[in-house]
Amino acid sequence: MVDVFVCKAGELKDGEVRIVTANDADVGVYRHGGRYLAYRNVCPHQGGPACEGVMLPKVEDVIAPDRTHQGQRFDESEMHIVCPWHGYEYKLETGECATDRRIRLQRIAVIEREGGVFIAL
């Protein structure tokens, strides 16, 4: 395993992502909620660049106590990474597919040391 430099501490702002390519390995490194999360930039569906799409909150149906539908809303507490090829959505905090927990992005370890952020490849 090799530590690959990503950025200086604080360089990435919350909500931002940097793609790091080391030889053939492509990794998306996110800054979210004050911490770093990194995933292989390969969607388990058909191999798309999952980390290069949009990030959107989970969409929810709003169901009233009488079980009528009252519209939809975003749940900002659950941010999704969306693969740009087909729209598969993954929870940013865990890499799990939002609709099937058995499918997930490959998590890559992030190390913070000496004022820098590194990923272990």
Binding site: V2, F5, T21, G48, E52, V82, W85
Partner: protein, 414 residues
Amino acid sequence: MDTLDIKYRDPAQQEFDSRTLLKNAERQARQRHYEDIFICDVDAHHYENESFDQIAQFIEDPVIRQTAAAKKGMSAGRPTLMNSQVGFQDVAGRVTRYTLRRLEKSPPSPHRDITLTKRWMDAIGIDVICLFPTPMLNLGLHPQVEAEVAIARAYNRWLCDTILDAEPRLKSMLYLPFNDPEATYKVVKDFGARKGVVGFMVTSARYKPVYDNAYMKTYALLEEMGLPLSFHAAYSWDDRLVGNANRFITVHALGFTVFNMVNLANWIVNGLPERFPKLKVMWIESGLAWIPFMMQRFDNEYMMRSSECPSLKMKPSDYMRQMYFTSQPMEMVGNRTTLEDTFRMMNAETQLCYASDYPHWDMDLPSTIYDLPFLNDHQKRNILGGNAQRFFNIEPVWSDWKVQARAAKQAAAQ
């Protein structure tokens, strides 16, 4: 220790380029050695509305041509001679190539459609495509029959002159203005011998029955010319069947199969395969899950209602096994056994043709076929390109990178 080659990108800052978007597809193509496989994508698309100014100049009727020009003045950039449908193919911005496509740079020549198309073909590992339009998939629902005819003829002429003549890797089954049977016949006569024309296509979303006697001379002509006929799926949110659906997923999932279901059923029960035994027919972009349904449903009912289909000499499923189907969008979620059964039921080895449907949102890479564990090498090669080669009666035209890759391998081996 080997030195790592490290690069950094900020997706928010990078320019849009199909080659970047499809970098992982290119990696797949190299890893799977697609340079050794002829891949013919029988259903791919461009956005002809982006060239509508050029296409409109080929409209033969001067009044309709002037209408097209005037309409453009009213809504700059949008060819409102065309009808349109509500749709959310981009999943509300999640499939980013829809919004970013316009930003992709291309040189002044060749035509932008040729440049952009070959970029994604080369990235994915595809040698030849059958190119279809996009907004025109709904043209069969246009309220004015003469508009469909005018646009169809203009588009076909523009496509032949501008795209197919210029690029041998791009073929097409030309659009038939099926709401006008006489005009349909004339399109086959006028365009059937053009370079790159490998057949003709009917957009399935329309309300004209395929068994109408008015079409028989067209089918006969196609058979005589050795050109196939295809039916390309489309949806209509205005159709009463899905009119009370409130989410696009429903309209698309059902609509893209239902119109083809009706046309295929009409085709078979009216004995058209018996009347035109040499006419090859292909069903495009309805996926594969509908095929076992149609086979089982119609065989079951045919055994009880054979008097309604007196021209049939075998079961409906037997006729379906002589037809051709495109693979996309292949239903692949938790259904491996069913998928394998489907391939067996439809005789996929000879009747299935790989399709990407790129750049649309539910596109499929060749890996959807290549990675199937129940196919052997011969079957994969058939489905990825061999069956299409026979269906279209074409010789392979290889992409440059595959030719170079094979040459490099040969040189290395010596």
